[in-house]
């Protein structure tokens, strides 16, 4: 509180409302600034260091390699923002893929198959969400259990066999258009559109504010009259729907539903979220950071390959980045708390 007490009345009498913060300044103050600089730096280094990096088809490839994990990371972001974590997202998406593919391979209608995939993914995520919100169990343990159970169930359901999907609605997202010499599959547009929608929902709607509040201080959210349980459950269900879209994108990229596929997608998605600056403690961050985080991982993988560097170095670099990102978050939180 300042010493002088401003007179009530005109809002414009004090500098309380800065008129339209410039974009660069809003960016600087946000959690996105660091990841964005890292991404641009990586792109710059690889553009100068290799001849192939900056080519249109290579950029398109980077996006294609990012889509599935990036979509799972989007759902993951929503859950991490509530101070949760979802270790089961990859296994949920794989189950969705297998259910869709098996249904079509056995002669079912692709539209029904797609709907079935969505229902399965949303129900699985809803189970996690229900247990977390109703019984207050730690999401880490709940989704670890779900991961194990779903992965095994998927193998039982598929008899550990892979299903190759014939071209149909299920592979439709793999179709592409030409943009300046590069092939761009529909899935990339879907992915980017999902981020835009999620960003809008998080920052411009009451539901988004409530999600942040629940992750930030669950007790405060409850006392403010927010239905915490319903908010949590709906976040998991929405994440489940996003995982289903991820499964659909995956079939578009490689039309094979392999029950053993995407086994590290859960950790990869967490990596993308964390590198993107979203706090594992909840309430801070956003999906734009996750978009950047996903791209950082993909750019490092791609660029180091272009530069003929052993891909193991990429993993070393990613590992270091994750730790740096968490350390920065911890530092920010501690400095703000004091």
């Amino acid at each position: 509180m300042t010493a002088e007490s401003p007179k009530p009345g005109s809002v414009h009498a004090t500098p309380a409302l800065p008129a339209g913060e410039p974009v660069w300044r809003a960016l600087l103050g946000s959690t996105v600034a660091g990841p964005l600089v890292a991404l641009l730096l990586a792109c710059l280094v690889f553009s100068l260091g290799t001849r192939t990096f900056l080519r249109a088809e290579n950029i398109s490839l980077i996006f294609q390699q990012s889509v599935v994990v990036g979509t799972l990371a989007l759902g993951q972001t929503l859950i991490i923002l509530t101070a949760g974590i979802d270790l089961a997202n990859g296994s949920i998406a794989v189950l969705g893929m297998v259910v869709m593919a098996k249904y079509v391979v056995e002669g079912g209608d692709p539209i029904v198959a797609l709907l079935l995939g969505f229902v399965v993914c949303m129900v699985m995520a809803a189970i996690s969400g229900t247990i977390v919100s109703r019984f207050n169990l730690p999401p880490f343990i709940v989704t670890l259990g779900m991961l194990t159970a779903i992965a095994a169930s998927t193998r039982l359901y598929s008899s550990s066999a892979s299903y190759t999907v014939p071209p149909s609605l299920l592979t439709w997202l793999g179709n592409s258009i030409k943009v300046g010499g590069a092939t761009v599959p529909y899935s990339i547009f879907v992915w980017l559109a999902l981020f835009a929608v999620a960003h809008y929902a998080l920052t411009q709607t009451a539901a988004g504010r409530h999600l942040f509040a629940v992750g930030d201080n669950i007790e405060a959210a409850r006392l403010a009259g927010i239905n915490v349980r319903r908010t949590l459950l709906s976040v998991y269900v929405v994440a489940g729907a996003i995982y289903a879209i991820g499964a659909w994108e995956a079939l578009g990229r490689i039309p094979v539903a392999d029950p053993n596929g995407y086994s590290t997608a859960n950790l990869d998605s967490i990596t993308a979220v964390v590198i993107g600056g979203t706090s594992l403690f909840g309430g801070r961050g956003g999906v734009f950071g996750t978009l950047i985080g996903t791209l950082i991982v993909a750019v490092l993988a791609n660029g180091l390959t272009q530069a003929n560097i052993d891909s193991l170095y990429q993993q070393v670099a990613i590992g270091i980045l994750v730790i740096v990102a968490v350390a920065v978050d911890q530092l920010v939180r501690r400095r703000r708390a004091s």
């Binding site: 509180m1 401003p6 809002v11 500098p15 309380a16 411009q204 709607t205 504010r209 309430g283």
Partner: protein, 296 residues
């Protein structure tokens, strides 16, 4: 009739006004611990009621019952003479009772305006608001700014996140949020506990400004000088029961503390003496306000 008019009218009639909030015989058990043991309570329109008691006397339980955060095992609560049955803080808020909790129920990473409007966000009235449920940040920020200024709380911008504020500023925003939405009663649990002297003084000023707006305030505090400074009446809770209700001008801090810790009796029987025991006599030199709110 506003609460202030009611107060004036009642003062002219020479008797205390009808309580705006009243509780009779509240009981709350936690396992084998009895937090509230048949507690009576009354809050008059437009007053600041200081609620004091030793640790474990049941202060927090009492205000939780009054604000809907817990449901008492027995007893009745009346709001302006009408029986109410709060099932959740939401019900109490809908009835115009706002609570500022001790642990400062704010979301630190959200900005001030978002915290003031948390759970009560305002959507835009246009196409975007109706179809895309877009929030009206401009409106919420503007009204938050005006409201804070009306209460004399000077902050740089309502777009600052709560965690950038000092403890006193955070408390001020929490109190302002309650004042913004509370139509009848504001309950504050230890609003100055974590604050320095200057900041505590500012929060107390805020309490007085809220009273000046005609709202009734229940103020829990351990700090006797603060209670004596702002309270119109002091309610002393001991062992889950009303020990005494005093006016600060009729008593001293030492006496209040003595009643609080049971060194001298209040005007209700201590626990264990049985309900049949008549109230202990008012100790010499203590003028206690009457129990029965309708009495004189």
């Amino acid at each position: 009739m506003t609460s202030r008019q009611a107060l004036t009218a009642a003062a002219e009639a020479g008797q205390p006004p009808t309580p705006i909030l009243e509780a009779r015989g509240l009981v709350k058990h936690y396992g084998h611990i009895t937090a509230l043991d048949g507690t009576d309570f009354d809050l008059r329109p437009g007053e600041v009621l200081g609620l004091v008691g030793d640790n474990g006397a049941g202060k927090s339980t009492l205000i939780k019952a009054l604000s809907g955060a817990i449901i008492p095992d027995a007893g009745e609560i009346f709001l302006e003479g009408n029986r109410v049955n709060f099932q959740s803080p939401h019900d109490a808020r809908a009835a115009g009772i706002e609570t500022v909790y001790q642990d400062l129920a704010v979301a630190p990473a959200l900005d001030i305006a978002s915290n003031i409007y948390l759970g009560r966000e305002v959507r835009r009235k246009d196409f975007f608001g109706l179809v895309f449920r877009k929030l009206d940040y401009g409106y919420m920020r503007e009204t938050s700014t005006r409201h804070l200024m009306d209460l004399g709380i000077g902050l740089k911008s309502v777009r600052q996140s709560m965690e950038t504020l000092s403890g006193g500023q955070r408390q001020a925003v929490a109190v302002a949020r309650a004042a913004a939405w509370g139509r009848r009663i504001i309950i504050m649990d230890e609003p100055t506990a974590a604050l320095g002297v200057r900041q505590a003084g500012q929060v107390l000023e805020l309490v007085q400004r809220i009273r000046a707006r005609g709202l009734a305030v229940v103020l829990i505090s351990h700090n006797m000088p603060q209670v004596f400074e702002v309270a119109d009446r002091i309610y002393i809770l001991r062992l889950g029961r009303r020990a005494a209700v005093l006016r600060p001008q009729d008593t001293t801090m030492a006496d209040v503390v003595s009643i609080m810790v049971g060194a001298i009796g209040g005007d209700v029987p201590a626990r264990g003496q049985g309900a049949a025991t008549p109230p202990t006599a008012t100790p010499p030199g203590y003028s206690l306000t009457p129990f029965d709110p309708s009495g004189s």
